[in-house]
């Protein structure tokens, strides 16, 4: 059945990829077969073109090697100064990553992608710098030669005899958005070489001259062309997948690579990476660490870890598996991860051990359904010291010797015990005693002492009991059988016990790990404060990893703050910040600043990165093992989740407190307002009803009651102002924002102020096309009322008060103008302050809260208010309200004009 529609999962994956890519910068690689083909020149030419188009181009680093024509191309391009670092007394120049990030160019030129950075740089490799630049959204142009591609490294080395150590993982090359092949026929290149146009480092000139042989150049050119063709092929496939032309059914089979203790692992990894790339499948790399391999010297183990890291860099999922039988473990792993192809190095034929079955054979036997790929191991020129195994300084080494002593002692004891029995028992039974001793020694102390016990027992039995006694001579050949059995029993038992003990040890370790995780999770679940989390974290890392740890969390101002614990790691704030900003691990054993002794893990919680965990291990190698790193990552995850939980607990608490205090304040305010207003209401009403009493009050009495009424109303205004101010100042006034015409609120303010304004002339001039505004009608009425009241209060009777409005840029300006005496000079700002009045100690009533309230209300509406004197005299108060997008009104029905019905 052929399905012409694209697989939705695949499409989704592609969309995600494209999303990630859109935010990232674009990488364009100028790819060449060898040095001297003109990659840098081509890159500069392309950059100049971009600059001519108005792109902001920055030269990050360009190696012109003093070639004039290339040098000339850089003219007119902005160059980033190199960073100077001193390393062991030398001044070294290196690309300045932070400088480049700070410059934020649109495009940066980074020559020689494979370059290794000088010690002390943030990343060990330039391609990692480039990754960071791309992640920051900066486009990058770079150059690379074919022999620098990781997976082609061996092939090129094989062809040319020259090995380069600076390599770029293929995934970087494959992930590049564009690859431009810069090609030059070998003859022309040789011509250029002759003319001295190709840069050659002096020290290796001879070797490199060897490199530039025509045969080599043709081979390299072919490799480069083919690699580019592969990429184009991949693009083609991608295109076809997009267009859904392909009817090829893709299985998601994947590849498992086994790394053994032997040599040439790196080559296996490169082969696997290339194969996985060609098949476009994910791949895994495993190393099965058996008891025997655990006893390998440290340097050897480091080498294996490095190989695993190489695999990881090339996109593999790397793991170390504990186990006794590598083949069984590998098969189990392949089954549990649904991997169908197993790749391993080919063992050398061992004609002297015809019974020996190679690793790959065993896998084939255990799992006939798995494809097994054998890779030839190379024999690299042995570098002195690389493999020369130093015996590891293991603690149990000394203990071992004691167990051998114990073993001998047990044999001695058995002899003593057997001695008196000799006369009563048959030799066949006496030998049983020795057999028992051998078994016990093997069980108790393992293989070595077991073997010793076997030999000793055989020797003692022979010497002391087998006739002729007290000589090693054997009279009866059948005793040889006894000896052989005894030896075999010792060996087999020892082997079994050793295996059992190793499994037990592994199980204990694993259990300890699980228990640590479980206990940590349990303890973290009870933590309520970041400090507690810090303590728990420090404790568990101290137990589990013999490491000191410090947690840095972000505070409200997005700064990393240390959680203080008793023994923290000696962390570097800069690296921690980097790890936090990039949400990537940094420091020891990572791609970023691996020289640092401290490992920095970002604490990624579901909502965001909560901080950084800094771990300073006594033995940094322990943290490098993949399963240890995974455990640490799990720890970090647990801590992050705990931090997030604590964070939200805090948020919830502070919200509750805030709500509670708001509720309290509101109930207090309304209680006060009720208690103050009730007597005032009674006072006003009773004063009014005085006139209703019988007999009717006299003129003087009426005047007095009128005065009482006035004062009570003034008191009421005062209370209103104070309460309003208290409400506004608490900052929690809820605006009842509605879309409404300004005209309406002007009308209601004028109505409310009709008494104070009775003896003034009022003119309202509002433009007809004023849009609806969003404001709180009650509060806005208050602003206008206060301004009108002020105008009435501070201007003589008969003055003209005007209300105007004008729509401007994004806001509407509303003004209340009078033609009175105006504001005192310099008081334009002063009057908005609390308890300020235009004229000090004047008889005009009213505490100066009105304008302060106006300002608070206007500012709550995101507007501004100011006062000024008009040129012609008089004061002008202006406030603004932001213009928004009023909701649409269906005027459909409005289209029909009502026709009067004539009878």
């Amino acid at each position: 059945m052929t399905d012409q529609r694209p697989d939705p999962d695949q499409l989704l994956e592609r969309i995600k990829e494209e999303d990630a890519r859109a935010k990232r910068g674009k990488l364009k690689i100028f790819f060449g077969a060898s040095a001297g083909v003109g990659k840098t020149y081509a890159m500069l030419a392309a950059a100049r073109q971009q600059q001519a188009l108005g792109v902001n181009v920055l030269v990050g680093i360009v190696e012109t090697h003093g070639r004039a024509e290339t040098e000339a191309m850089t003219a007119g391009l902005e160059r980033l100064p190199l960073r100077e670092t001193s390393y062991r007394g030398h001044m070294l120049h290196e690309f300045d990553l932070d400088g480049a990030l700070a410059c934020k160019p649109s495009l940066i030129l980074m020559d020689e992608l494979a370059h290794s950075n000088v010690a002390g740089s943030r990343h060990p490799k330039r391609w990692q710098d480039v990754e960071e630049l791309l992640a920051a959204g900066i486009d990058v142009y770079s150059t690379v030669n074919v022999q620098h591609l990781e997976t082609l490294n061996d092939i090129v080395g094989g062809i040319t005899g020259i090995r380069v150590w600076e390599t770029v993982p293929d995934r970087v090359f494959d992930a590049a958005d564009e690859v431009v092949l810069v090609d030059l026929p070998p003859d022309e290149l040789l011509q250029r070489l002759k003319e001295g146009k190709v840069y050659l480092p002096h020290q290796a000139e001879r070797a490199i001259r060897n490199f530039f042989r025509k045969g080599n150049l043709i081979a390299l050119r072919e490799l480069a062309l083919r690699r580019t063709a592969d990429r184009v092929d991949e693009e083609m496939l991608q295109y076809r997948r997009d267009q859904s032309v392909s009817s090829v059914w893709q299985t998601r089979e994947s590849l498992l690579v086994c790394i053994g203790p032997g040599r040439g692992n790196d080559k296996i990894i490169r082969n696997a990476a290339r194969l996985a790339g060609q098949l476009n499948v994910p791949w895994h790399a495993v190393y099965v660490e058996t008891a025997r391999l655990q006893r390998l010297p440290e340097t050897h183990r480091d080498q294996i870890l490095k190989t695993l890291r190489l695999a990881e860099e090339n996109g593999a999922l790397a793991s170390t598996l504990p186990g006794e039988d590598a083949a069984v473990q590998v098969v189990q792993y392949a089954r549990s991860h649904n991997l169908t192809k197993v790749m391993a190095g080919r063992d050398h034929p061992r004609p002297w051990r015809p019974w020996y079955r190679s690793f790959t054979d065993r896998i084939g036997q255990l799992a006939p359904d798995l494809d097994v790929i054998q890779v030839a191991r190379e024999e690299p020129e042995e570098k002195p010291g690389r493999w020369s195994a130093k015996p590891s300084q293991r603690e149990d080494e000394g203990v071992n010797w004691i167990t051998y002593g114990y073993s001998a002692a047990v044999c001695g004891l058995t002899t003593l015990l057997a001695w008196p029995l000799y006369t009563y028992f048959d030799l066949a039974n006496i030998v049983m005693l020795f057999l028992l001793a051998v078994v016990m020694v093997s069980i108790r102390w393992g293989r070595g002492p077991g073997v010793l016990a076997s030999f000793l027992s055989v020797a003692i039995f022979d010497f002391c009991f087998v006739p002729p006694r007290f000589s090693f001579a054997v009279s009866d050949v059948q005793y040889l059988m006894t000896f052989a059995v005894m030896l075999a029993v010792g060996l087999v038992t020892g082997q079994l016990t050793a295996g059992l003990r190793y499994q037990a040890q592994i199980a204990t370790q694993r259990e300890a790990r699980v228990r640590a995780l479980y206990e940590m999770a349990r303890d973290l679940s009870g933590a309520l404060m970041p400090e507690q989390i810090g303590e728990i974290c420090a404790r568990f890392l101290a137990i589990g990893f013999e490491a000191r740890a410090t947690i840095l969390i972000v505070d409200l101002s997005e700064q990393l703050v240390e959680i203080h614990t008793q023994s923290g790691a000696a962390y570097d704030r800069g690296i921690a910040q980097w790890a936090f900003d990039h949400s990537e691990a940094a420091g020891s054993g990572t791609d970023t600043l691996p020289a640092s002794p401290v490992l920095y893990l970002p604490l990624q919680a579901p909502m965001r990165t909560r901080g950084v965990l800094a771990i300073e291990a006594q033995n940094p190698h322990r943290l490098m093992a993949p399963e240890q790193r995974r455990l640490l990552d799990t720890f970090a995850r647990l801590i992050a989740i705990a931090l997030e939980r604590v964070h939200y607990v805090e948020v919830a608490q502070s919200t509750t407190v805030q709500m509670e205090s708001e509720r309290l304040r509101n109930s207090l305010l309304s209680a006060i307002s009720h208690d103050l207003r009730t007597p005032l209401t009674a006072l006003v009403g009773l004063a009014d009803s005085f006139s209703l009493t019988q007999p009717p009050p006299s003129g003087q009495q009426q005047e007095i009651t009128a005065a009482i009424r006035e004062e009570a109303l003034r008191m009421n205004a005062l209370v209103n102002n104070l309460l309003d101010m208290a409400r506004l100042q608490s900052g929690e006034v809820r605006l009842n924002l509605q879309w409404q015409p300004l005209e309406e609120v002007v009308g209601s303010a004028l109505k409310a102020m009709r008494l104070p304004l009775a003896r003034h002339r009022v003119r309202v001039q509002l433009p007809d096309d004023l849009p609806l505004l969003s404001f709180d009608a009650v509060l806005m009425e208050r602003v206008l009322s206060n301004l009108l009241e002020n105008a009435a209060k501070f201007t003589p009777v008969g003055s003209l008060i005007e209300i105007g409005a004008k729509a401007g840029q994004g806001e509407v300006e509303i003004s209340v103008t009078d033609d009175g005496p105006g504001l005192p000079e310099g008081a334009e700002e002063e009057i908005f302050k609390k308890f300020a009045r235009g004229q000090k100690e004047s008889a005009t009533p009213g505490v100066g809260l009105g304008l302060t309230i106006c300002r608070a209300i206007v500012e709550a509406h995101h507007g501004r208010i100011l006062a000024e004197n008009r040129p012609g005299g008089g004061a002008r108060f202006v406030f603004t309200l932001p213009l928004g997008t009023p909701p649409a009104v269906e005027e459909r029905e409005d289209m029909v004009t009502q026709e009067p019905i004539h009878s």
Partner: protein
């Protein structure tokens, strides 16, 4: 003519306020019964056959809004609400529940009596249906012919404007909330679009008021709604 004096029930927990309200109402010739709690008020309202209720919103044993809801289940008499200044939401709730008008504390006797008179008048006129012509200010309305004139000039109103005007005129002197107007003029589906009311009220004012920014007939009650004054 000696019409029976109207019966007014005052539900208010403050004795001094109750006292002057009573004095004022009695001076108008009303018969006044007092209640200081919600429960007492409902009993009075149920037994005294009142023509009107003056109600304080903040009562010791409950909210005045509950009183109105209860009362409205069996009576349509006018309810005048007394409330504090800052409690706009309470006023709107009370009006939506069926109150007819409100007074903000502190208030004078004059204001109180004016409101009470208006409500009593409206209540008394309630029975007289079939009124086809109406005049207020310079505006003449012929309901039968759906004709609106201002200063003798025909004013063209859209159907919605006319519906709005009719509804306002049917409820003179009462405060109508935005929601009430929307529900009754536009229908229940529009009850959240309060800017519709504001826009059309603006249209009515422009067409019928002399100075739309200082309306005489279509008065804004800020934050609450509108009141039509003939």
């Amino acid at each position: 003519m000696s019409a029976p004096s109207p019966v007014v029930i005052v539900v208010e927990d403050e004795p001094q306020i109750r006292r002057f309200v009573r004095m004022a109402l009695e001076s108008e010739g009303c018969e006044v019964f007092e209640a200081d709690t919600l429960k007492r008020g409902l009993i009075e309202a149920g037994t005294r056959k009142p023509d009107m209720v003056v109600l304080d919103l903040g009562l010791p044993d409950g909210s005045g809004v509950d009183f109105i809801r209860e009362l409205r289940t069996w009576s349509g008499i006018p309810v005048l609400v007394l409330s504090a200044r800052t409690a706009e939401a309470d006023k709107v709730d009370a009006l939506d529940a069926g109150a007819d008008d409100y007074l903000t504390k502190p208030f004078g006797v004059g204001e109180l009596l004016a409101r009470v008179r208006a409500q009593l008048r409206r209540h008394a006129r309630r029975g007289e249906d079939g009124q086809t012509a109406l005049q207020f200010g310079k505006i003449k309305l012929d309901m039968a012919r759906r004709l609106v004139e201002k200063d003798g000039q025909t004013v063209h109103l859209t159907p919605i404007e006319y519906r709005l005007l009719s509804y306002l005129i049917a409820n003179p002197d009462s405060v109508l909330t935005h929601r009430q107007l929307l529900r009754n003029v536009w229908g229940p589906s529009h009850s959240e679009d309060s800017h519709y009311v504001r826009i059309y009220m603006g249209h009515l004012r422009k067409k019928l008021e002399d100075d739309p920014s200082q309306p005489v007939h279509f008065v804004t009650e800020a934050g609450i709604g509108y009141r039509f004054i003939a």
